[in-house]
C-alpha cells in the first residue's frame, strides 16, 4: 500500500482553462508554506514561511496542524488543528489558496491545490467618479421626489383634507410674514385662502371688517376674534364709494398694457377689484428709516398697492359717473376751490345748508348775531370785560380765538360753541339773587325760560338788584292775553327779550301773538364747513408754531368781521401757499398728497398712520363724530 500523497496543482489561466501539474510526495507528511523548502509552496504573503503540516494519521484519515501563528480554514471555518476523513473531501483554505483532499487509488491521498482568484486587476473606470458614487440619475430622482413630496404633496394634502392641523406644512408656501394686525392668522392659511385656486374674496375680509354691524353681531365678532388670538378689534371699513361706483369711476384699462393686465387677471381669476388687490399681505416689511435692516419682522398693517392714483379716477369722473357732483381733481395744482357747507338760512324746521364755492363769497345766516371784530378788538368793551373776569375764570387778557373756540379731544377741530360755557361769563344769564345765590335763566328754549321764571317768582323771589347786563325798559311786544301767573315773571321776561335785553344781544327776536309773545329765531352753528377734508388744527404749522406757520388770523379774517354773516373759511389757495411748495419758497413747505387731507376709506379725514389705525382699532371703530352733512 503506497504511503503517498499525490499533489495536483491547478493554475488558472487568464484566458480561461487550467494547467494541471501532478507530483507525488513519498513522505509521511506534507509541509505547507511560503518557503521554498515546503512540499506545497503557496506564494501568498498571508501564508507563513512554514505554515502547516498534513500528517497521515490512519488509513483514510489525516491530521492538519498549523506550524506557526497563522491558522487555516476548514470548509470555511477557522482552525489551527484538525483530523480529517479524506473520504469527506475536506477543503482547507490557506490565504488565497484552496486545498481539497480526496481519496485516490490504493489509499493515496490526492491534494488538489487551486488559487481561488487572481488578484483583481483595477479597471480604468476607476478614474471616473461614476465608479464611486451611486448614480447621478438615481440621486436626481430621489432629490426631486423628496422636494416634490415635502413641498407640494404634503402641504396640499394637509390644506385639502385636514381641518385642524397641529403642524402646518402649508406654512412653507407663505411668501412672507403677515402684518402685525393679521399675524395671529399666520398658522391658519385657510382663514383667508378659503378655496383652493380661488383668490381671496371680499366676503372673507368682510367676515371681520364688516361695517354697520348691530351690537349683538359686534359682540359675537369680538369674541370670535379674541378666541382666534387677534390683539385688536377689527376695523369696520367704510367704503370710499359703492363697489359699483368704484368700478365705473375707475379709468378704463390703458392700451395695451392695462388691457393685457386685465386679460391676465380675467384668465387667472384674479380680479383687481378685491380688498386684497390693494391690501397686500405676505410682503417682506420695509425697514423704517433709522431701523437696522432685519430688525423689523412685520409691517404694522398690510402693504397698500394702489391700482390707481386718486387723480387717475378723479379726472373726467363725470364722463364715467354722470350722477356725481364731485369736481375733478387731476392733481394738486388743479384742486378745485373749496365748496364749503354754508348755512344759507337757519330758519324753519331744517336749516338750509348749501355747498357754495368760497370764490362766490357766500354769506352765512346761522341765526346768531356775533361781531368778531368787536370781541377781538383789544381796546373794545369785551376785551376790557375779559380782563376784569381774570385768569381764575379762564380769561385775564383780551379775548383771543381760543377764549371761545375750544379744541376738541384730538385737537384737530373744535368743540361746538356752547352759550353757557363760551359766552355766559360776560353774557350772564343771571336774572335774580346775588353772590353765590344768583339765579340763571336756562338757555336754549323760550318755554323753559318762561317756566323757570314763573317757578322762581311763584316761590316769592325778587329780581336781583344788579344782575349782569340786564337793562331796564318795557318790551311792548309781550302780550298779556294769557298772562303770566306772576307779574314779576312777566317783567323779567320782558326785560330779557327786550330789544336791548340779554337775549337780543345775540338772537333775533320775533314778536308773536299769545303768551309769551316772542319767538327766538333758530340758530344753526356749523361744526365743520369742509366735512370732506381733514384739516388738522393741532398741527404746529397750522397753529402758528415755527417759521412760516399760519396762525388763526392768517386764514380766518375774524378781526375785521363785523357780522356773523361774513364767511371766514379760506379757499384752497391758502393751503397751497405751503402745501406743494418747496422749502426754498416757504420754510413751512409741506407735502401735497391727497392723503394729507383725504383718506380713501374715510374721505372726511386725513389718511391714518399705522399708529393711528392701531389706536383706532383698540378703540374699536373708525367712526368719528358725524359732521354736518348735506
Amino acid at each position: 500500500m503506497a504511503q503517498e500523497f499525490t499533489l495536483r496543482l491547478i493554475t488558472r489561466q487568464a484566458g480561461g482553462g487550467e494547467i494541471v501539474r501532478t507530483r507525488k510526495v513519498e513522505f509521511q507528511d506534507v509541509l505547507i508554506g511560503r518557503g521554498a523548502e515546503n512540499d506545497i509552496v503557496l506564494d501568498d504573503l498571508s501564508v507563513d514561511l512554514n505554515h502547516a503540516k498534513i500528517t497521515r494519521a490512519s488509513p483514510g484519515r489525516v491530521t492538519v496542524e498549523a506550524e506557526g501563528a497563522g491558522g487555516f480554514t476548514l470548509d470555511g471555518r477557522e482552525a489551527t488543528r484538525a483530523q480529517l476523513d479524506v473520504a469527506g473531501e475536506p477543503r482547507l483554505g490557506f490565504g488565497g489558496y484552496d486545498l481539497v483532499l480526496e481519496p485516490g487509488e490504493d489509499g493515496e491521498v490526492v491534494i488538489t491545490v487551486t488559487q481561488r482568484e487572481e488578484p483583481h486587476a483595477e479597471s480604468v473606470s476607476l478614474f471616473s467618479l461614476k465608479a464611486q458614487i451611486f448614480g447621478r440619475r438615481r440621486m436626481a430622482w430621489i432629490y426631486g421626489l423628496i422636494v416634490f413630496a415635502m413641498c407640494l404633496i404634503v402641504p396640499a394634502a394637509g390644506a385639502l383634507f385636514m381641518d385642524h392641523m397641529t403642524i402646518h406644512p402649508d406654512k412653507q408656501w407663505s411668501s412672507g410674514p403677515l402684518s402685525k394686525s393679521h399675524a395671529f392668522l399666520e398658522d391658519d392659511c385657510q382663514a383667508c385662502h378659503q378655496k383652493a385656486f380661488v383668490a381671496v374674496r371680499d366676503e372673507t375680509c368682510l367676515s371681520c371688517h364688516q361695517t354697520n354691524l348691530d351690537q349683538a353681531a359686534t359682540a359675537r365678532l369680538a369674541t370670535r376674534l379674541k378666541d382666534e388670538g387677534s390683539p385688536n378689534a377689527a376695523l369696520a371699513v367704510k367704503e370710499h364709494a359703492t363697489h359699483d361706483e368704484l368700478l365705473k369711476g375707475a379709468p378704463p384699462p390703458s392700451f395695451p398694457g392695462g388691457m393685457i393686465k386685465a386679460g391676465f387677471q380675467w384668465a387667472f381669476n384674479h380680479p383687481a377689484t378685491r380688498c386684497a388687490s390693494c391690501h397686500l399681505e405676505h410682503t417682506a416689511p420695509i425697514p423704517e428709516e433709522g431701523t437696522p435692516e432685519g430688525r423689523v419682522k412685520r409691517a404694522a398693517t398690510p402693504e397698500l398697492a394702489e391700482p390707481f392714483t386718486c387723480g387717475e379716477c378723479h379726472d373726467g369722473l363725470k364722463k364715467r359717473l354722470p350722477a356725481t357732483d364731485l369736481l375733478d381733481t387731476p392733481d394738486w395744482g388743479r384742486h378745485p376751490g373749496f365748496r364749503p357747507l354754508v348755512t344759507v338760512s337757519a330758519k324753519g324746521e331744517k336749516a338750509d345748508v348749501r355747498r357754495i364755492a368760497v370764490s362766490a363769497h357766500p354769506r352765512e345766516d346761522s341765526g346768531v348775531i356775533f361781531p368778531h371784530r368787536l370781541h377781538l378788538d383789544p381796546l373794545g368793551g369785551p376785551a376790557r370785560q375779559a380782563m376784569q373776569l381774570g385768569a381764575d375764570r379762564g380769561y385775564g387778557g383780551t379775548l383771543v380765538c381760543a377764549s371761545c373756540h375750544r379744541p376738541d379731544k384730538t385737537g384737530t377741530g373744535f368743540r361746538p360753541i356752547e352759550m353757557e360755557r363760551d359766552c355766559s361769563s360776560c353774557h350772564s344769564l343771571a336774572f335774580a339773587g346775588s353772590g353765590a345765590n344768583l339765579k340763571f335763566l336756562p338757555h336754549g328754549q323760550v318755554d323753559k325760560v318762561v317756566a323757570g321764571l314763573e317757578a322762581y317768582y311763584a316761590g316769592g323771589g325778587s329780581p336781583s338788584a344788579g344782575s349782569g347786563r340786564r337793562q331796564p325798559g318795557e318790551f311792548a311786544g309781550l302780550s298779556t292775553v294769557q298772562g303770566p301767573r306772576s307779574s314779576a315773571a312777566a317783567a323779567a321776561l320782558r326785560t330779557a327779550f327786550a330789544p336791548a335785553g340779554i337775549c337780543s344781544d345775540c338772537h333775533t327776536i320775533q314778536r308773536t301773538g299769545g303768551w309769551p309773545g316772542v319767538r327766538v329765531e333758530a340758530v344753526k352753528l356749523t361744526d365743520r364747513f369742509l366735512p370732506r377734508g381733514g384739516f388738522d388744527h393741532s398741527i404746529g404749522a397750522h397753529r402758528g408754531q415755527g417759521a412760516g406757520a399760519f396762525a388763526c388770523a392768517d386764514c380766518h379774517k375774524a378781526a375785521t368781521s363785523d357780522t356773523a354773516q361774513d364767511f371766514l373759511i379760506p379757499d384752497v389757495a391758502k393751503c397751497a401757499s405751503c402745501h406743494g411748495k418747496t422749502k426754498a419758497q416757504t420754510p413751512a413747505a409741506a407735502s401735497a398728497d391727497c392723503s394729507t387731507c383725504h383718506s380713501f376709506h374715510r374721505p372726511s379725514g386725513p389718511a391714518l398712520t399705522a399708529q393711528d389705525k392701531l389706536m383706532e382699532a383698540i378703540r374699536g371703530s373708525w367712526e368719528t363724530a358725524p359732521a354736518v352733512r348735506q
Partner: protein, 261 residues
C-alpha cells in the same frame, strides 16, 4: 443676446415704477417669473437634447453655448422676480436650488475650459491603462520580493498590496485626501523594521523599500489624474440632481401660488 436680455430687464426693473414695490406678485413679477420658469425648463431639456448629437445651425455646441449664457441670465431674471424679498419658504427654496444649479454650472464651465488641458498635461504620453498596469507590475514585484519574508515582515508588504486604495471616495478624490494611504504607512513601518535587519533580509527589505517608494510615485501620478477627473465630473453630481430638485421646487412654487391665490 443673454447680456442684452439682462441689461434690458434690469433697466426695466429700475425704470418702471411698480406699485407698491417690486415683488413676484406684480405684473412685472409674474412676467419675470413666467420667463424664468420657461427658461429653467428649456435649460433642463439640455439633458434630453444632449443625447441627440446633431450638427448645423442648431448644433449641440450652439445649444450648450446658449445653455450657459441663458443659464447665467437666469440669475438676473430670477433675482429681479424676487424683488429682493426672501424668507424661509418654498419660494426661496426654489431660488436657492436654482442658484446652486447655476453656481455648479459655472464651476462646470470653468472645469471644461481648463481641466482637460491639465488632465492631458499630467498624463503626458501615459494612458490611464498604463498607469494602472504600472501599479499592478509594482505590486507583482513587491509580492515576489516579499516571498522570503516571515509573517510580520510580509504583513508590511501586504498592507501596501491589499489596503492601498488608488482613488477613494468623492471628497477624497476632489480634495486629494490620501493622508492615511496604506502604501505610505507600509513605508514608515518598513523603515522601522529595517533598523534591526541584517544580512540577506536587509537586502530584501531594501529592495522592498525601493519598490514601495516607486509605488508611491506611481500612486501620486495616478491620483492627480483621479483628482482632475473628479473635478471635471464632480460638479455634475450637484448640477443634475439639484436641477431635478429645482424642477420639483419650481412646480411647488408655482402650484402653491395658485393654490393660495
Amino acid at each position: 443676446m443673454a447680456t442684452l436680455l439682462c441689461v434690458t430687464l434690469t433697466a426695466a426693473y429700475f425704470l418702471i415704477d411698480v406699485r407698491p414695490r417690486h415683488s413676484g406678485g406684480t405684473w412685472m413679477g409674474y412676467s419675470l417669473g413666467a420667463l424664468g420658469a420657461a427658461l429653467i425648463v428649456w435649460l433642463a431639456l439640455l439633458g434630453v437634447r444632449k443625447r441627440a448629437v446633431t450638427a448645423g445651425h442648431y448644433s449641440l455646441k450652439a445649444w450648450v453655448s446658449a445653455h450657459v449664457y441663458l443659464g447665467l441670465s437666469l440669475t438676473v431674471i430670477a433675482t429681479l422676480h424676487t424683488g429682493f424679498q426672501f424668507g424661509m419658504n418654498v419660494h426661496t427654496l426654489a431660488y436657492v436650488l436654482m442658484m446652486l444649479v447655476i453656481v455648479s454650472g459655472l464651476f462646470g464651465v470653468w472645469a471644461y475650459a481648463s481641466l482637460p488641458n491639465l488632465l492631458s498635461a499630467n498624463r503626458g504620453e501615459t494612458t490611464r491603462r498604463q498607469m494602472l498596469d504600472a501599479l499592478a507590475t509594482l505590486d507583482g514585484q513587491l509580492h515576489e520580493a516579499a516571498q522570503p519574508l516571515d509573517r510580520d515582515m510580509a504583513a508590511i508588504v501586504r498592507l501596501s498590496l491589499e489596503k492601498t486604495d488608488i482613488a477613494g471616495g468623492y471628497w477624497q478624490r476632489v480634495f486629494g485626501l490620501y493622508g492615511g494611504c496604506a502604501n505610505d504607512r507600509a513605508i514608515e513601518r518598513l523603515a522601522r523594521a529595517r533598523q534591526g535587519a541584517r544580512g540577506p533580509e536587509a537586502e530584501t527589505l531594501a529592495q522592498i523599500d525601493a519598490l514601495l517608494r516607486k509605488k508611491a510615485e506611481a500612486l501620486a501620478f495616478a491620483r492627480r489624474q483621479v483628482r482632475i477627473t473628479a473635478l471635471l465630473e464632480g460638479w455634475t453630481f450637484v448640477h443634475v440632481p439639484m436641477t431635478f430638485a429645482l424642477l420639483a421646487a419650481l412646480t411647488a412654487h408655482i402650484v402653491s401660488v395658485f393654490f393660495y391665490w
